[in-house]
Symmetry: none
Subunit: 245 residues, 2 copies
């Protein structure tokens, strides 16, 4: 197997290891590298691309972590076959708008309130922010195809958004614009009965079942940017999760 890679772009500000990583991903995507194929040796790749071996190792390491490649000590680095690939939790992080779009529904929101303030002591602990740190709060009713689907109460680290008005329809879009879209999230789900206030907002009977979802959204560096509590109609929404060992 002989693959030739083009040279790195010196004018590109992207770190070299990411450029190498992208190059390898493309080779995998275009089948220039096929399952079971051996990659060129790290030293050879390093020489060919004019970077150090450590840079090559860092790029390969990411793909190994993702299960796309695997290394065998003394033997080489190989492309993982699709059959042997371990699918990482395919539970993708997505916003309400994206979630509804994936279900083929059109979404819009109605604002309950939108305000700036500072963290409560409880939030301060939960979000790892200093006491008094500025936050934005976004409270709205979320609709899917004209049906009131959920109530959503979000608290966002104010440093992660340009302004209070930056959020039009999609919070995640606004966070992405400043490079602060969460890449990981922890969600806690529980079944609850709607109290009078929430039942009314969602036009549901008092006491009917709903799904309470608490979400904590984190940046790549581990910092918490989002703390959202949502109440979904039990009759119209279900949540899918993939588990693996």
């Amino acid at each position: 197997m002989l693959t030739t890679f083009r040279q790195l772009d010196d004018s590109d500000a992207t770190p070299k290891y990411m450029q190498v990583e992208r190059m390898l991903r493309e080779a995998l995507a275009t089948d220039a590298l096929r399952p079971q194929d051996a990659l060129p040796a790290e030293r050879d790749l390093a020489e060919e691309l004019g970077v150090s071996r450590i840079t090559i190792r860092k790029a390969i390491g990411t793909l190994v972590d993702e299960g796309l490649l695997h290394r065998r000590h003394g033997a080489g680095t190989f492309v993982t076959g699709s059959a042997q690939r371990i699918e990482k939790s395919s539970s993708k992080i997505s916003s309400f708008s994206e979630d509804m779009a994936a279900r083929g529904l059109r979404s819009h929101s109605e604002w309950i309130s939108r305000s700036s303030g500072s963290v409560t002591p409880e939030e301060s602990i939960n979000m790892g922010l200093s006491p008094g740190a500025p936050v934005f709060r976004f409270n709205r009713i979320r609709y899917a195809d004209e049906l009131p689907m959920a109530l959503e109460y979000s608290t966002i680290d104010a440093n992660c958004l340009r302004s209070l008005d930056a959020v039009e329809s999609s919070l995640y879009k606004a966070l992405a614009e400043t490079g602060n879209r969460p890449t990981r999230a922890l969600q806690r789900l529980r079944a609850i009965a709607f109290d009078e206030g929430r039942a009314e907002l969602l036009k549901m009977p008092l006491g009917s079942p709903g799904l309470l979802i608490e979400r904590r959204g984190f940046l790549k560096n581990g910092r918490l940017v989002e703390l959202t509590t949502s109440y979904y109609r039990g009759d119209a929404y279900d949540f899918v999760a993939e588990l693996s060992d």
Copy 2:
């Protein structure tokens, strides 16, 4: 914050970065490093332990990947607070017994029924089994610390278990004995209101909220072995999911 670490053991054949990693884990476990604490700078740690900075970075990198630490460019490396920590285990496939054990609860079951039969037409489609294929059905009330927690209705491909009696308390244990423990599962969650029959079995008021969980468990080769529908008490059970992009 001042933490002193003992020197590395030169006679230890374990790679240095793993020794450093273990050292940091111990500091975290014994609260020598507490949430929000800053670690010593990488250069300082390297000097203190007599290793290169790259070795320190590799050790820290592992813990960052696990979410135990997080780095802030230009600021330092910090201990992640437990509230902001993402539990890896959350997307792990586990049985009811294991799930309860992880929450520090003791579990047992009460059988509603246990029978062998053949697939219904609906199951046949869902499980990819030929019409009339043999299955076992296990229906039980699941208790956590004497509290009725859930109703569980499982249908299992009969070829995957030694016998109907092979299942004592843990279904997954019995499946593991024949090498047929699912490695992947797809779960669907929804909020429901308990009907009279289920409310009575769980000693809950009629109409109180519950979590309906439908689980499909797959072997590594993609074959479906388990089809389980569970009803969890809404007031006592929550489900945690980890999402990523």
